[in-house]
Amino acid sequence: MSENKIQVKNLTHAFGDLLVLDDISFNIKNEEFVCVVGPTGCGKTTFLNLLTRLIIPTSGEILIDGIPADPKIHNISFAFQEPSAFPWLTVEENIAYGMKIKKESKDVIKKRTDEVLNLLGLQKFRKQYPHQLSVSSEQRIVIGRSFAMHPDLLLMDEPYGQMDIKMRFYLEDEVIRLWKNFKSTVIFITHNIEEAIYLADKVIILTNKPAKIKEELEINIPRPRDIASKEFIEYRKYVTDQIKWW
C-alpha cells in the first residue's frame, strides 16, 4: 500500500448534465512515469484540473501519500502546453522561482538550480531572459523548474505538442534524464501514442466522453527505448487500436 504515491478513487465529474469523467480509479507508484492517452475531447484537461484541485470533483477523491490532495500540503507542479516562463526573470531566476515561494534555503536553491542547468545544458544561458532563447528552450526551462521543486506530483499537459519529431525526441530524452535524476512521480498527458510508449512506465488509456479507464498498460521495455523495435511497434499498434475512432 505504502508504495502507492497517488490513489485516485471513484473520481467522477459533471458540468451540469454533462458527465465528463465517470468513476475513474487508479494508483500511481512512487517515482512512476505515467502517460495518459485518450481520444480528442475525452476530458483529459478536466482530469488534470481535478488533480491540481483547480476544480473540485462531483464525487470521488484523490489521495497523495494517503492524505487528500491539497496544494497547501503537497507540492504539485504543472507544465502546460504553452511555455509559461516568467519573461521578466532570467533563466536561473525562473528555475529558482518555485523553490523561493516554498521558502527553501539558499543553499538548496543554488544546488538544485545548478543541477537543473547542468541537466539541461543551459549553464551558459543562465543570465539570459526567456525571449532571448527559442520557444522550445522556454518550455525546457519550465519543465526544469517543475522538477526542481521536488514535487510530490508533476503534471504535464502535452508539453511537446507543437514540436516536430527531431526536437521531440531530444526533449523526450531530456525529460527522462530529469525524471531519473529527481526521481519524481509524473503524469504526462499526450495525444501522441509514440511519445507515450517511449516515455511511460505505465500508459492509462481513456475512453471517449464520458471518460472511463479503458485499460492500464505497463510498458515493459528497458530504456533507452528503440522506437523502431518490434516490441515497441507492437505496443504502439495496440494502443492506437484502443483509441482509434476514425
Partner: protein
C-alpha cells in the same frame, strides 16, 4: 510512367527590403518541376519562406528574379486555375456550408443548378452531407477545414495548393484528415502542392517530398515515396524514411550537452 510537366518553377529569388540597402532574402534561386496529378509535399522548417513560395506560385506575389510557368504560360497574377486551402480555414461564418462551397462558381456566374450539383458532389466527398445548411460556427475545426477543401475542389482548379491546412488541428483529427485527403486525392486526381513542417504528415501524403533549407529557402533534397496508400505509419519503411529525413533537418537547440 510518363510524367507530364505542369508547373515549372525556374530559378526564383525573393527578398524584402528592411531598411535602406538592407535586404532580407527569403527565397534563393529555387527551381522545381511539378508533374501532372502528383501529390507534392513541400517540407520546411518554420519561417523558411514556404508561404512566400506558395504565394508566388499562386500569383499573389511576384519573384524578384526567375519565373513560374503553368503549362508553359508564365504566371503573372492571381489565377482561377489555382485553388487554395489555407491554414486558417478562411470560410465565411455568415454563409452556410453550401453557400461557402459554391462561392467560386457563383462569382463566375455559373447557373445555380449546375454549381449546386458540383458543390454537392464535393460536400459528399469530404463527408459533410447533412450539414449543407449549417454555418461554420456550428462546425468543429476539422469540419471547417473540410468546407475549405470542398470549396477549393468545386472551383475545378488545375492545381490545388494547401498551406499547412491541418496545422491547427489536434493530433487525432489530423490523422483522420490526412487519411481523408489521401482518399479524396485517389478518387479525384489533381495536382496537389501541400505544405507542411511535419515530417510524419509529409510521409503520409506525398508522392514526392521536397525538403527546403532554412531561410533563404532552397531545395535541399527531394525524396520519392513509393509506399502504397493508405500508408502504414508504423511500417519499417516509413520509420526509416522518417529517420532519414529527420537527420537531414537541423535541430536548433540552445544547449551545450
Amino acid at each position: 510512367m510518363d510524367k507530364k510537366l505542369r508547373l515549372r518553377i525556374n530559378e526564383i529569388s525573393k527578398s524584402y527590403k528592411l531598411k535602406k540597402k538592407d535586404y532580407h532574402k527569403v527565397i534563393d534561386s529555387l527551381s522545381l518541376d511539378i508533374f501532372d496529378n502528383e501529390f507534392l509535399v513541400i517540407l520546411g522548417p518554420g519561417h523558411c519562406g514556404k508561404t512566400v513560395l506558395l504565394n508566388i506560385i499562386a500569383g499573389l506575389e511576384t519573384p524578384d528574379v526567375g519565373f513560374v510557368e503553368l503549362d508553359g504560360v508564365k504566371i503573372d497574377g492571381p489565377n482561377p486555375d489555382m485553388g487554395m486551402v489555407f491554414q486558417k480555414t478562411g470560410v465565411f461564418p455568415w454563409l452556410t456550408v453550401m453557400e461557402n462551397v459554391e462561392l467560386g462558381p457563383r462569382f463566375k456566374g455559373e447557373a445555380k443548378s449546375e454549381r449546386r450539383e458540383r458543390a454537392q458532389k464535393y460536400i459528399n466527398l469530404v463527408g459533410l452531407q447533412g450539414f449543407e445548411s449549417h454555418r461554420p460556427p456550428q462546425l468543429s475545426g476539422g469540419m471547417k477545414q473540410r468546407v475549405g477543401i470542398a470549396r477549393a475542389y468545386t472551383n475545378n482548379p488545375e492545381i490545388l495548393i494547401m498551406d499547412e491546412p491541418f496545422g491547427a488541428l489536434d493530433a487525432q483529427t489530423r490523422y483522420s484528415m490526412e487519411e481523408e485527403i489521401s482518399n479524396i486525392w485517389s478518387i479525384e486526381k489533381r495536382t496537389v502542392i501541400f505544405v507542411t513542417n511535419n515530417i510524419e504528415e509529409a510521409l503520409a501524403l506525398g508522392d514526392r517530398i521536397v525538403l527546403l533549407t532554412e531561410c533563404p529557402a532552397r531545395v535541399k533534397e527531394i525524396y520519392e515515396v513509393n509506399m502504397p496508400r493508405p500508408r502504414d505509419l508504423m511500417s519499417e519503411e516509413f520509420l526509416l524514411l522518417r529517420q532519414k529525413i529527420s537527420e537531414n533537418t537541423d535541430l536548433s537547440i540552445d544547449s551545450e550537452v
